[in-house]
């Protein structure tokens, strides 16, 4: 009773908004859009600058007052970028490492998450807690020993060294296990009664039901290969470098010995465009993955 009374009171108050208040509100809204617009421009500007610079001639790029749009569009910069930074070879390396590590990682993550979510065994909770505890430790701490380990294994400068050490991610196992737990256990028991094998159940029921998470993991894993820089530089030479290594390691000097920024920007654009594509088409999954890791991690 009393609650409904309060509601009618506030609604009455709302109706009494004077014109002065309305003007203040409009000014505030304009201010908000102005601020957000300026911030958005600042955020977008480096991308804009990257793309237009990659299409300029060197002479135009070095003008005292830069032009905001190229007078003459030079596509040749992109061809130069591919030869100077050897992007073709790097691209193949990265795609190979990305695909192999994503597939293997997905298989391991799925069966591990399944074991933690559905099977019963001694010490399950203890083991899972220990796994989660390792997430606290910064990655640099692992890198040092892993460097020694892969040297002992004789894996230096192979594809293996780029794939195997990062196959298991505790975070992905955690993410998928939570997803599996939400699927009612009755489904699993019913399948058992019908004599369905575990793997078939996993394939027919659990994987389709947790597809969004699997897609998130795939995207994050592929982006990881695309963006990894430190580890490949440490353990491989040029033949097995990934795309980011080639990007920064290449020399973009022109005949006069000065950095040819348009070509450099062309290389940067080539590396950035696949990321933009992923972002445009799969934004939903990325944002979901990030915000989930944010709130629960």
């Amino acid at each position: 009773m009393s609650e409904s009374k309060i509601v009618t009171m506030t609604e009455k108050d709302m109706k009494k908004v004077t014109s002065r208040q309305r003007i203040v509100k409009i000014i505030v809204q304009i201010g908000l859009y102005l601020f957000l617009g300026i911030m958005a421009l600042i955020v977008v500007f480096p991308f804009y600058w990257m793309i237009i610079s990659s299409l300029k001639s060197t002479v135009e790029y070095r003008l005292p007052v830069p032009t905001l749009f190229p007078n003459e569009i030079i596509w040749k910069n992109y061809a130069d970028a591919f030869t100077k930074a050897d992007l073709g070879q790097l691209f193949m390396n990265t795609v190979y490492v990305g695909i192999v590590s994503t597939i293997l990682s997905l298989v391991i993550t799925v069966i591990t998450a399944f074991a933690f979510a559905r099977l019963e065994f001694k010490g399950k909770n203890l083991l899972f807690t220990l796994l989660l505890a390792t997430m606290m430790i910064p990655g640099e701490l692992f890198t040092i020993t892993n460097y020694v380990t892969v040297t002992k294994f004789g894996w230096i400068d192979t594809y293996t060294v780029l794939i195997v050490p990062f196959l298991v991610s505790v975070f992905y196992i955690y993410l998928l296990r939570q997803n599996f737990l939400q699927i009612p256990n009755e489904l699993y028991l019913a399948a058992k009664v019908d004599g369905t094998k575990d793997l078939k159940y996993l394939w027919k029921v659990m994987i389709p039901l947790s597809l969004p998470n699997l897609i998130s993991i795939t995207i994050l894993k592929m982006m990881g290969a695309w963006n990894s820089y430190i580890w490949p530089r440490l353990v491989t030479t040029k033949a097995h470098h990934l795309i980011t290594n080639g990007l920064r390691g290449a020399s973009y000097l022109d005949e006069a010995g000065q950095t040819n920024f348009p070509v450099q920007m062309a290389a940067v654009t080539v590396v950035s465009i696949p990321l933009f594509m992923v972002f445009i088409f799969l934004r939903k999954y990325i944002m979901k993955g990030v915000s989930r890791s944010g709130i629960k991690g």
Binding site: L36, V65, L119, V148, T244, L247, G249, F261, S272, V290
Partner: protein, 359 residues
């Protein structure tokens, strides 16, 4: 024959405890009922128990090699005086306990410089980016049309390659052209400009040598701060906006009825209700800040300094440099120091936020 006998005898004497263990396990296994139980379990009844471990095996093996062993080994290498990987593999090194690695690291001027740079970057970027992200998130939450569009734009820097965009920032702050300026005595001198210098020139500022040869340490740091803040915004906006959208609207309606000023609403309602998200964003910001590395490589190249300038190396950079120079002991000691700092900073943050969290 005598040789073999001697060997067996020596094995029995020296490795007596091993023999004892093996014999004991063997006796146990030989007992008929154990064998039976084991086989039945494996084949028929309780296969499920073993199955779980079968499923877990790949993950566990990989984690043992690449996650669990490193935790112990880092401690071992850090407290092993003059550890060197090549000598250890060669088998010429005996474990030698001591804190020499830590002493070396702390007495090393380069490490102190790295620590200083890292600290400056952390202390500057975390408050700036958190505050900016909070303001943007609140503004985004207050508008209706174009909200999703702007939200997408603000999230754009998240899915970029930090080395690649670092190179774009390098190009933007770089000196690319020469502008002739007439001196009072009639001669001409050339002042360098770039796009950023052009933009600040519009507002009447003098061009600054940001990152080129002869640029100062603080100019370099300023560029890094701008880049790191730009890079850190999207994640923070996403988390804070998510928090804002789950806040109960009733508080704001109550404030509206009381005609509370906007600033008061911000400081008295929004910030306290968002405090868990803010804590989270600050903690992850500090952790990321202490691990800053690739953004510096992106802007300044693999030397991590402006030509002829002071080194801008960070703690993570120091760890990798030591590793590449085969000083794994020092690298481990530095990594443990880094871990300790991150741990302490996180605890302080949690303590402060616990005091200030309002629900």
């Amino acid at each position: 024959m005598a040789n073999v006998l001697n060997k067996v005898k020596g094995w029995f004497v020296n490795g007596f405890w091993k023999t004892f263990c093996v014999a004991w396990i063997w006796t146990l296994l030989c007992k008929k009922w154990i064998w039976q139980d084991f086989c039945v379990n494996l084949l028929y009844k309780k296969f499920d128990k073993w199955k779980a471990w079968l499923y877990l095996a790949p993950a566990i093996v990989l984690l043992l090699i690449f996650t669990v062993w490193p935790i112990f080994n880092t401690l071992r290498m850090a407290f092993w005086n003059k550890y060197n990987m090549l000598q250890e593999i060669g088998g010429t090194l005996k474990f030698n306990f001591g804190v020499q690695n830590f002493v070396d690291v702390i007495n090393y001027q380069r490490f102190i410089d790295c620590l200083k740079t890292t600290m400056i970057l952390c202390v500057a970027t975390v408050p700036i980016s958190t505050f900016l992200a909070l303001v943007i998130a609140v503004c985004l939450n207050a508008i209706k049309p174009f909200r999703r569009f702007l939200q997408t734009i603000f999230f754009l820097p998240y899915v970029t390659n930090s080395i690649a965009i670092g190179m774009v920032f390098e190009a933007m702050f770089n000196i690319v052209g020469y502008k002739a300026i007439m001196n009072p005595d009639g001669t001409f001198s050339h002042v360098s400009v770039g796009i950023i210098n052009n933009i600040i020139g519009i507002f009447g500022f003098e061009p600054i040598n940001w990152i080129n040869q002869g640029s100062g340490y603080w100019q370099n740091i300023a560029v890094l701060i701008i880049y790191i803040v730009w890079n850190a915004l999207p994640f923070k906006i996403l988390i804070l906006l998510g928090g804002l959208q789950s806040v109960n609207k009733q508080y704001y309606e109550a404030a509206k009825v009381d005609a509370t000023p906007r600033w008061r609403v911000f400081t008295r309602i929004t910030v306290p209700l968002l405090s868990p998200m803010i804590t989270y964003v600050v903690i992850t910001g500090f952790i990321g800040g202490f691990k800053e590395y690739s953004s510096i490589v992106g802007i300044f190249g693999e030397d991590m300094q402006a030509v002829g300038g002071k080194s801008l190396n960070t703690m993570v950079g120091y760890i990798y440099d030591s590793l590449a120079r085969n000083q794994q002991g020092r690298a481990s000691a530095a990594a443990l120091i880094l871990f300790g700092i991150i741990f302490v900073v996180t605890l302080i943050n949690l303590y402060v936020s616990k005091k200030n969290t309002h629900y």
